[in-house]
Symmetry: C2
Subunit: 305 residues, 2 copies
């Protein structure tokens, strides 16, 4: 199928067309640039990208499913990109399956796509960023990027979002300590989920301590009990108010620009990777790795430019 | 200080010289290649690189401290590289601090170095791999790379090791499910720590199920209670038997080659990154990211070679 036919199917919200488009992007097909350039830029500009992250076990999938339900009440078509960087070898992606199973399996206006890193070092930002635009171009007003964990790759993915939510839960104190304030600062909102569980007070005290000098951030702490749909209305309201504010004050535009740059860099590294590997394989096997790197870059004739 | 002076200090096991060398590598100083090339290759070849990973909270630091104690009984000088990919923004690295605090703070024959990813996408494999060689060249017979988590970056770091141990503990069932067999397969040995806690039977059943067709792997499951020093002798014995076997059958040589290639690729990407970013910044701001990537690679005059 030609790129322009796939683009047409995406714009018609055809599920197989959408799936096909994202697969071609993931496989870095030759038509990738043509396909992405042909997408409806107006729809992409009007769409809203929400990032959801947090450690495993805090209830992200339930919370996401709850938010999707509320967005459906608002008559929005919703896209979900579930990125699972914790499955490098198997390439499995449980997250999307879980969301799919939950509520929206038969709802054609909810599009779920799972992505795993498949043992590759990079490229997930590039593929996830491009997939977001495919879903937006298919008419999704809100596209949710959900990712498990609080590591480097998760944070890079979250930086693709217009607004991001970090989900935490009682009993994950060690994780909070390990995350420190830094990772938490990347998120615009923090949802303390499972707020009926023991330990919620301790978690609030810990977070209050981390944000002790940041009254703005303290206001952005919300409590939810996703399994009972509690607090999700207020969370979605905060998210959408933040979207409006960010559209007005230029934050959203600045973030889109930054995320485009991140994605372009990620694509460039992906395009270079096979050439670099090829050059490395041709080197003497006992060469010092750093020197090997300098040599292959010289071989690429990059030096002196 | 000239590279040759720093190399001399490393070979004399001077703590400040070692710290200086690793800092220069992390900062990608101009002398990086010269410094690494000057290291005692015989010591590096004779050294043994042990990887330890697992989800947060399973007791990796306690287990590592216990193994270090046993290695000290064997009169080995020991190096530890503690990599903490979960602190991207703050750049903090709690792990090394914890290990340092435990037992060996005053023992000059135990060298601990912490590394964090500092918000950069890549480069941690390169820096960690090079730091391992610095510690080996300073006379460490065993160098331990410890890393938190089971994500992509952790697995890449673990691939730098000659032998690797995945530490698990009861109550981390969800994580195991998320990891699937894939991530577990990367590890040579699996230590079920906190083996006195409730849930250890369920964990063993889960692992047994994952490895149901892999009798070899089942034999590699060990139980430990690191806080009571239980099972650590047997674990170290298995590790060292595996080292000997891998030296005999060529596995160790093959792994070192693979890890050199990984490190060379990582260095090359690090060296290219600032140039790519510079080129991206000069592009039209509304350009499609994938197209931007193709354009800057053309600008690098890489095409057609």
């Amino acid at each position: 199928m030609a790129a322009k036919d796939i683009i047409r199917l995406v714009h018609e919200a055809d599920p197989r067309g959408i799936a096909r488009a994202i697969s071609l992007i993931e496989d870095q097909a030759d038509c990738t640039a043509e396909l992405l350039q042909g997408l409806d830029q107006e729809r992409i500009g009007a769409s809203f990208v929400l990032g959801i992250t947090g450690p495993p076990g805090v209830g992200k999938s339930t919370l996401t499913a709850g938010l999707v339900q509320l967005l459906r009440v608002q008559k929005q078509r919703v896209g979900i990109i579930a990125v699972d960087p914790s499955s490098p070898v198997s390439g499995g992606a449980l997250l999307g399956d879980r969301i799919r199973m939950m509520n929206h399996a038969l709802d054609r206006e909810v599009v779920v796509r799972s992505m795993a890193t498949r043992g590759k070092l990079g490229g997930i930002c590039a593929a996830a960023g491009a997939a977001v635009r495919v879903l937006a171009a298919s008419g999704c007003r809100t596209v949710i990027i959900e990712t498990v964990g609080v590591g480097q790759s998760e944070m890079d993915i979250i930086r693709l979002a217009d607004v991001s939510v970090m989900v935490l839960a009682p009993g994950f104190g060690d994780d909070i300590q390990a995350m420190k304030a830094g990772v938490l600062e990347v998120a615009d909102l923090i949802a303390v989920n499972k707020a009926d569980r023991p330990g919620v007070e301790k978690l609030r005290v810990d977070l209050g301590f981390i944000f002790k000098n940041d009254a703005e951030k303290q206001r952005r702490l919300l409590q939810t009990i996703a399994t009972e749909n509690k607090g999700l209305d207020a969370l979605l309201q905060s998210i959408q108010e933040m979207e409006q504010q960010y559209r007005r004050d230029g934050t959203l535009y600045a973030r889109r620009r930054r995320s485009s740059s991140l994605e372009a860099l990620d694509w460039a590294l992906e395009l270079l990777r096979p050439r670099l590997i090829h050059l490395i394989e041709r080197l003497d096997e006992d060469i010092e790795p750093r020197l090997a790197a300098e040599q292959i870059i010289r071989q690429l004739e990059l030096d002196g430019k």
